[in-house]
């Protein structure tokens, strides 16, 4: 797979750069674009982003590893995030995590062998009033329960 943004994407990157007095600030938006396009941030992708923005590879790596949402290894097509922080724990979010983990047969930050699912025990997602909550990729499911989540995972298979 060739690591290259399309012309349209390169234009978008220029737009991001123009929002800030220093183009270095475009790094986070560009890492988001890269992750959305290639699924995760491989060394090649990070090197490419570094070249595009005139940054060192070390800097890009440092930033990519600082933030938990940038994936440093391939994740599932469906990234399942279960919140176990306090408000969710009060609604058995921790048990939900165990159940999802057993169902998928993977633990925290692991991926199923078919590459379909990955699982993450996440910190508070800012949806505490909707506890317990699960997110799949970018979508939040609030006031949910294991049978709903279970069914949804079956349908995604």
């Amino acid at each position: 797979m060739e690591i290259r943004f399309s012309e349209a994407e390169l234009k978008e990157i220029e737009q991001h750069k123009s929002k800030y007095p220093n183009p270095k600030s475009a790094l986070m938006p560009v890492l988001w674009m890269a992750q959305n396009k290639w699924g995760w941030l491989s060394n090649e992708v990070m090197q490419y982003v570094a070249d595009l923005l005139n940054l060192t590879y070390a800097h890009v790596l440092g930033v990519a590893t600082f933030y938990t949402m940038y994936f440093k290894k391939p994740m599932g097509k469906y990234h399942v995030q279960v919140c176990t922080n306090v408000s969710c724990m009060l609604h058995k979010g921790d048990e939900m995590f165990e159940q999802v983990s057993n169902k998928l047969g993977i633990g925290h930050n692991e991926r199923t062998s078919d590459g379909l699912f990955s699982l993450e025990e996440v910190e508070c997602m800012g949806a505490c009033g909707g506890a317990p909550m699960v997110a799949i990729n970018e979508d939040f499911y609030e006031k949910t329960n294991i049978s709903f989540v279970s069914k949804m995972l079956d349908e995604l298979k």
Partner: protein
Amino acid sequence: MIKDTPKLILRDIPDLHKVDVYLKNGGFDAFKKALTWTPDEVTNEVKKSGLRGRGGAAFPTGLKWSFMPKGIDKPKYLAINGDESEPGSFKDRQIFEQNPLQLVEGILIAGYAMGLKAGYIYIRGEYHKWVKLMEDAVKSAYDAGFVGEKMKETFGTNFSMDIYVHKGAGAYICGEETSLMNSLEGERGYPRVKPPFPAQFGLWGMPTTVNNVETIATVPAILNMGAENYSKIGAPKHPGTLLFGVSGHVNKPGVYELPTGTLLTDIIYDVCGGVIGNKKIKAVIPGGSSMPPLRGDEIEGVMMDEESLKPLGTHIGTGGIMVMDEDTDLVKITLRIAHFYHHESCGQCTPCREGTGWMEKILKRILKGEGTSKDLDLLVSVANNIEGNTICALGDAAAWPVRGFVTKFRDEFEKRVKPSREFVAPNVVHGKVTSKDKLVFA
């Protein structure tokens, strides 16, 4: 009665996020009013209103704005803090969803008052959908000529500014204002040593103010109703309405806009329909997980504003109220909180990096039934050693709840630990056993 209180931010108007609806409901009137005043007059109006920051520290907003240097040539910035990652806090997202244009208008007012070049709305990465909603709202405001170069013509003014949305990528620490600035600059989100303060040396080295989303979204309401009227809502020393996010064991969790100083029991029992299954309350965290808890038997008569909570040893924080019923295992909850802060520590300061790890380790031991009562003192001592000895307030945020739970619920923690390594030895006086006093070897 509580239900009749004014809604200044979460107004019950369908489709308020659309420009035409917002305009029909007084949109940008506050900004137009601001333009008839001098910038200093606007700042003074905000000062007079008594508005205090909604990001956690309840710092007076007008005062903060007045720290920005004047009459200089440098570009100045506003960072609008929508990182919202404090466990128990979920109110800013309601603003992105329900009234994003009021946030835009608030930014313009702040921009005019402080002479800003641009405002950056920093939104946590997990809020994908709400980032998009906010981006759409900003774009629609640009398209309608209310932001950017075109606003000069629209409002007939020399002032113009830009507004951008910046998406985070999963780091609680980026809610800390200097970490947020580093993050916006394309760096790792390490907090900076203060001084220099952001008003002197902020984003890209320029004067910068950091305010919470709710703080800024409140400003248009203040200008519309007048500072005088606003200051009469709620608690006199911490006035206004506040977005309380209530979670945990209540029947109707959610975000509620209520006057400051509202009784905590009214919020729990009236507004939120009481505790699930009518159970008793064991503990309440009043303002997000960093804030020390209250015991269930303490909450009667507690008013929800900073000045009322301070004497009780806790704070309003982000207004995130977490209710725990009588069956809650507080050792488990405290461990979960300790784990969170350990996980989120950026690792720059030894007391925070090591201390949060120790607290988690000790609590794990206690949860397993392997702790001793000495561990409880140790937890308090570790917390004391973190507090005040770190670059940023995450250290305090980690120390406070752990110390709070262990001291306030000492009885519950004691039941979960073994007595310290001790044995009962006869007390020997003049060769005679007098009693079975304990000799403690711990």
